[in-house]
C-alpha cells in the first residue's frame, strides 16, 4: 500500500514540475510569438484583438501543459515493456474530488475568458458615432471593391457624382463608419491590420466601424468565397494624416 501511495505522490510531484516548466514555456511563447505572428496593428480594435489572443493563449497554456505533462509521464513511467498482454492495472474507477476540481476549474477558466470577451465586445464601439465620424460606402462585387465618399456628393449637369476609388484612403485618428453592400453575391470585407470584418450582402447594408490610429498602407481582402476570382479580390487601404487626406479628397475627380 505504501508503495502505491509513493508511486502516486512521485507521479504527482514529477508531473507537477513538468507542468510548471511547460506552462512557463507556453506563456513565453504566447506573449512573444503572438504579436510577431500577427499583422501590424493599425487600430485600437486590432490592438485589443491581439491582446485577447495573448490572454487566451496564456490561459490555455496551463491546460495544454497539464495534458502534455501527464501524457509524457505516462509514456515514460507507465509503459509496459514485457511480452504478451500486460497485467491489469489498479481499478481506479472514479475520483469525485478530482472530477469536481476539474469541472470547476474549467468552468472558472471559461467564465474568465467569457467576461474578458463580452466586456471587450461591449466596449468596442466607444469613441464611435461622434460628430467627426466619416462615412465611407463600400461596394463589393465580383471581383473587386470600390469605395465612395458620400460627403463629397454633389451634382454635375443633373447627374449625381461623388468621389469614388478602387483603393481606400482614410484619415488617421478619425472614427470611420463603413456602409457595406454588394452588387451580386456575398463578399467579406476585411481590413487585415485593423481587425474589422463584415460581410457585403446584396440588397442589404451591413455596417462596421473603426478608428485607424497608424499611418501606412494596409490590406483589404475578401473572405467569403465569391466565385472565380475570389483570390484576387484584394485592394489596399492608405491611412494618411488628416491634412493629406483632405488634400487627396479635394484633388480627386468626381465620378458618377
Amino acid at each position: 500500500m505504501t508503495s502505491e501511495k509513493t508511486t502516486t505522490s512521485r507521479a504527482i510531484v514529477t508531473i507537477g514540475i513538468l507542468w510548471v516548466l511547460l506552462t512557463a514555456a507556453g506563456v513565453l511563447v504566447s506573449i512573444y510569438a503572438t504579436p510577431w505572428l500577427m499583422p501590424d496593428s493599425a487600430s485600437n480594435t486590432m490592438h485589443m484583438g491581439i491582446l485577447t489572443m495573448i490572454i487566451f493563449s496564456v490561459a490555455a497554456a496551463p491546460v495544454a501543459a497539464l495534458v502534455y505533462a501527464v501524457v509524457l509521464y505516462a509514456l515514460a513511467k507507465w509503459r509496459y515493456t514485457g511480452e504478451g498482454i500486460p497485467p491489469d492495472g489498479p481499478s481506479l474507477r472514479a475520483n469525485s474530488p478530482l472530477t469536481m476540481v476539474w469541472i470547476i476549474g474549467s468552468t472558472a477558466l471559461t467564465l474568465f475568458l467569457l467576461v474578458w470577451g463580452l466586456s471587450l465586445l461591449a466596449s468596442d464601439n466607444s469613441g464611435q458615432g461622434g460628430a467627426n465620424e466619416m462615412t465611407v460606402n463600400v461596394t463589393g462585387q465580383q471581383w473587386l471593391w470600390s469605395f465612395q465618399y458620400p460627403s463629397t456628393a454633389s451634382t454635375q449637369n443633373g447627374t449625381p457624382v461623388s468621389v469614388s476609388n478602387e483603393d481606400l484612403y482614410l484619415p488617421v485618428n478619425t472614427p470611420i463608419k463603413f456602409n457595406v453592400t454588394s452588387k451580386d453575391v456575398d463578399h467579406g470585407f476585411w481590413i487585415v491590420q485593423m481587425g474589422i470584418k463584415i460581410n457585403a450582402i446584396p440588397d442589404t447594408i451591413t455596417t462596421t466601424e473603426v478608428t485607424p490610429n497608424k499611418l501606412g498602407d494596409y490590406d483589404i481582402r475578401c473572405t467569403e468565397i465569391c466565385g472565380l476570382n475570389h483570390s484576387y479580390m484584394t485592394t489596399k487601404v492608405h491611412v494618411l494624416t488628416e491634412k493629406a487626406f483632405s488634400n487627396w479628397l479635394a484633388a480627386q475627380p468626381k465620378h458618377f
Binding site: 507521479a11 505572428l37 500577427m38 480594435t45 484583438g49 487566451f56 491546460v63 495544454a64 495534458v67 502534455y68 501527464v70 501524457v71 505516462a74 507507465w78 509503459r79 509496459y80 498482454i85 500486460p86 497485467p87 491489469d88 492495472g89 481499478s91 481506479l92 474507477r93 472514479a94 475520483n95 478530482l98 476539474w102 474549467s106 468552468t107 471559461t110 467569457l114 470577451g117 463580452l118 471587450l120 465586445l121 451580386d184 453575391v185 456575398d186 467579406g188 487585415v192 481587425g195 474589422i196 470584418k197 463584415i198 460581410n199 450582402i201 446584396p202 440588397d203 442589404t204 451591413t206 455596417t207 481582402r221 473572405t223 468565397i225 465569391c226 466565385g227 472565380l228 475570389h230 483570390s231
Partner: protein
C-alpha cells in the same frame, strides 16, 4: 420376406432469396444508369427548354432517376414490394439476405448481416477518403506557389468544394459506419441490428450518393465551397444540382442508420446488459446517432430550398426578391455544428475503448464521461451562429452565442479528464492502436484550444475566413477524428479478419501521418494569423514559405495514408494470425470467435458486470 427400398426423390428445400439471387452491385449500376438516362430524356423532352431553371430541372430529375434505379437494382425495394403483395420473407429468404454460406459474393449485394455491412462501410470510407485525399493533393499542389500554376482558379474552387464534402461524408461514416455496425450489436449482446434491411439500405444509399458527388466535378464543378452559401449557390452551374442531390441522398442514408443504431441499443440489449454496463463506445455511438437525427434533416431542407430557388424560381434565399441569404446560413449551420460532434463522438468513444484495453484499467469516471458526451451533444445545438459572427446577421445575438460556444469547452475538458484518468498508473501497452490515442490527445488539445480563440468575437473578426479556421478544423477532423478512425481500424482489424494489421507498417504510417499533420496545419495556422484568407487559389508572396511547408507536410500525410492502405490490403490475407481476443479485452465482441459466426452468439450471454473490471477480483469464477 423381401422389403423393397423405394427411392423417392425428396425435393430440396426452397432456396431462399428469390429475386435477390439476381441482384447485386452490377445490376444496381446498370439499373441506375438506365433510369438516369430515361429520366434525362423525359425531362429534356417534356420541360420548357427556354425556362430559366431548365438545365437545373433536367439535372435534378436525372439524379433522382439514378438513385431510384440504383436502389431498384440492388433490391432495396424488393421486400417492401413483397410485403405489399402479401408475401413476406421466408426464413430461407432471410438467411440468404444475411449472406449465409455465400463467401465473397455477399459483399457485393444487399446483405443484411451487420458484420458484412460493417466491412462494406470500411471499403466505402476508404474510397471517400481516397477521392477526397486526391483532391487535397490537388489543392496543396496548386498552393505550392502563388499564381495558379497547377490548375486555374475555377478548377481549384471545385476541388476544394468537393474535397470538403467528400471528407465530411467520409468522416461522418468513418467510425460510425464500420464499427457502429460491426461491433455495437455484438457489444450489446444482440444477434444483429434492430432493422437489418434498413442497415443494408443505409449503406447502398450512401454508395448511390457518391457518383452524384463525383459527377458534379464532371459537369463543371461547383465553386461555392462545401457550405454552398446562398446567394452564390444560385449563380453556380449545374454541378451544384448534383452536389445537392448527393447530399439529399446521403441524409436519407444517415437518418436510416441513426434510427437503426438507437433502436438496437434501446431494445436489443441482452439480459443483464443494463445501461450502466454498456461499453462507452455504445454510448458514444448512440448519442452521436441521436444528434445526427436532429441535425441532418436541416441539411435536407437547406439543399432542397436551394435547389428549389434554382429550379422553380422561388426566392427563399434571394434578397432582391424577398428572401435572404442569412436564412440559408442559419439552416446550414443548424446542421453544420451538431454535425461536427456527430463526427467526433464515435471517434472519441472508440479511443476510450482502446485506452481501457491498452492501459488495462477501467474507464475513469464512467458516468461523468457519459454526462460529458451528452452535454457536448446538447450544447452543440445551441452554438450554430458562431459560424455567422461576421455575416452581419443579428449582432445582438453575438454575446449569447459566444457564451454557449465557450461553454462547450467544459464537456470537452471532461473527455480529456476521462482519457488521462484511464491512463493514470495503467500498464500502458504500446501496440499500434495506442499510438493513435496519443496522437489524438496531442492534436485534439491544439484543435480544441484554437476553437476557443474563434469563439471570441473580437478574435473571430480577425480570424474568420482565414486559414486559421482551416487549420483549426483540420486539427480536429484529421488530427482527432481521423486518428480515432484509424485507431479503431487497427483495434478491431483482428476481429474482422483474424489477423493483426502489420505493426511495423502501421507504426511507419502513424509517424508519417502524425508528423505530416502537425507540419501541414501548424504552418497553416501561421499563414492564417498573418492574414491569408481561406479558399484562395493564389496568394500574396508574403505567404509563400508557409504554404510551401504546408504542401510538403501534405505529401508526408499522403505517404503515411498510402502506407496504411498497403498495410490494410496486405495484412487482410497474409497478416500474422491473432486469435479471437489478442488484446485481452473484456467487451463482448472479443469473447466471440473469429470469424464471428453469422448469428454472433451460440447462446445469448447473461451479463453480470461492466466490461471494465481490470484490476478487480472476479465476483464469480
Amino acid at each position: 420376406m423381401t422389403s423393397t427400398i423405394e427411392h423417392s426423390t425428396v425435393s430440396a428445400p426452397a432456396l431462399g432469396g428469390g429475386i435477390y439471387r439476381r441482384l447485386n452491385f452490377g445490376t444496381a449500376l446498370i439499373a441506375g444508369v438506365v433510369f438516369a438516362v430515361i429520366a434525362w430524356w423525359v425531362a429534356h423532352s417534356l420541360l420548357d427548354s427556354d425556362g430559366r431553371g431548365f438545365s437545373d430541372q433536367v439535372m435534378v430529375i436525372t439524379a433522382v432517376g439514378w438513385v431510384v434505379g440504383f436502389e431498384l437494382g440492388i433490391g432495396a425495394f424488393t421486400s417492401i414490394g413483397k410485403w405489399f403483395t402479401g408475401r413476406d420473407q421466408t426464413h430461407a429468404d432471410e438467411m440468404y439476405l444475411a449472406g449465409k454460406d455465400a463467401g465473397q459474393a455477399r459483399y457485393w449485394r444487399f446483405t443484411t448481416d451487420h458484420k458484412v455491412v460493417g466491412v462494406q462501410y470500411i471499403v466505402v470510407t476508404m474510397i471517400l477518403l481516397g477521392a477526397g485525399g486526391l483532391l487535397a493533393m490537388g489543392i496543396r499542389t496548386n498552393l505550392l506557389s502563388p499564381g495558379n500554376h497547377f490548375v486555374n482558379q475555377q478548377i481549384y474552387n471545385s476541388f476544394l468544394s468537393v474535397h470538403g464534402m467528400l471528407m465530411i461524408l467520409a468522416l461522418i461514416v468513418a467510425v460510425a459506419g464500420p464499427w457502429a455496425n460491426f461491433v455495437v450489436p455484438i457489444m450489446v449482446g444482440a444477434r444483429d441490428m434492430a432493422f437489418p434491411r434498413l442497415n443494408a439500405l443505409s449503406l447502398w444509399t450512401l454508395v448511390a450518393a457518391i457518383p452524384l458527388l463525383l459527377g458534379s466535378l464532371a459537369v463543371g464543378g461547383n465553386d461555392m465551397g462545401w457550405v454552398t452559401q446562398a446567394p452564390i449557390s444560385n449563380q453556380s452551374g449545374v454541378g451544384f444540382d448534383l452536389f445537392a442531390m448527393a447530399i439529399i441522398t446521403f441524409t436519407v442514408s444517415t437518418t436510416v442508420a441513426g434510427v437503426n443504431t438507437i433502436c438496437t441499443v434501446l431494445t436489443m440489449r441482452t439480459k443483464g446488459m443494463t445501461l450502466e454496463r454498456l461499453p462507452i463506445f455504445v454510448w458514444a455511438s448512440s448519442i452521436a446517432a441521436a444528434l445526427g437525427l436532429y441535425a441532418f434533416p436541416f441539411f435536407l431542407v437547406v439543399m432542397s430550398l436551394n435547389i428549389s430557388d434554382r429550379m422553380n424560381g422561388t426566392s427563399f434565399f434571394i434578397a432582391s426578391e424577398g428572401g435572404t441569404g442569412w436564412l440559408q446560413e442559419n439552416l446550414f449551420w443548424l446542421m453544420g455544428h451538431p454535425e461536427v460532434y456527430v463526427i467526433l463522438l464515435p471517434a472519441v468513444g472508440a479511443l476510450l475503448e482502446i485506452t481501457t484495453v491498452f492501459a488495462r484499467k477501467p474507464l475513469f469516471s464512467y458516468r461523468t464521461s457519459i454526462a460529458g458526451m451528452a452535454g457536448l451533444a446538447g450544447l452543440s445545438v445551441l452554438v450554430w451562429a458562431h459560424h455567422m459572427f461576421t455575416t452581419g446577421w443579428a449582432p445582438a445575438l453575438g454575446g449569447p452565442f459566444m457564451v454557449t460556444t465557450e461553454m462547450i469547452s467544459i464537456p470537452t475538458g471532461i473527455i480529456f479528464l476521462v482519457l488521462l484518468g484511464t491512463l493514470w498508473r495503467g500498464n500502458i501497452w504500446m501496440r499500434l492502436p495506442m499510438y493513435w490515442v496519443f496522437g489524438f490527445i496531442s492534436n485534439f488539445i491544439v484543435g480544441g484550444i484554437t476553437g476557443i480563440y474563434l469563439s471570441d468575437i473580437p478574435v473571430d473578426n480577425q480570424m474568420h475566413g482565414t486559414m486559421f479556421v482551416v487549420a483549426h478544423f483540420h486539427y480536429v477532423f484529421v488530427g482527432s477524428v481521423l486518428f480515432g478512425a484509424i485507431g479503431a481500424l487497427c483495434f478491431w482489424y483482428p476481429k474482422v479478419t483474424g489477423r493483426f494489421l502489420d505493426e511495423r507498417m502501421g507504426k511507419i504510417s502513424f509517424w508519417l501521418v502524425f508528423i505530416g499533420t502537425n507540419v501541414t496545419f501548424l504552418a497553416m495556422f501561421v499563414s492564417g494569423l498573418r492574414g491569408m484568407p481561406r479558399r484562395y487559389s493564389s496568394y500574396s508572396l508574403i505567404f509563400e514559405h508557409m504554404n510551401t511547408v504546408s504542401t510538403i507536410g501534405a505529401y508526408v500525410i499522403m505517404a503515411g495514408m498510402l502506407v496504411l492502405l498497403g498495410a490494410v490490403i496486405s495484412s487482410w490475407n497474409k497478416g500474422e494470425p491473432s486469435g479471437p481476443n489478442p488484446w485481452g479485452s473484456k467487451t463482448l465482441e472479443w469473447l466471440v470467435p473469429t470469424p464471428v459466426p453469422l448469428e454472433n452468439f451460440e447462446v445469448l450471454p447473461v451479463i453480470t458486470e461492466d466490461p471494465y473490471t481490470y484490476g478487480e477480483a472476479r465476483t464469480n469464477s
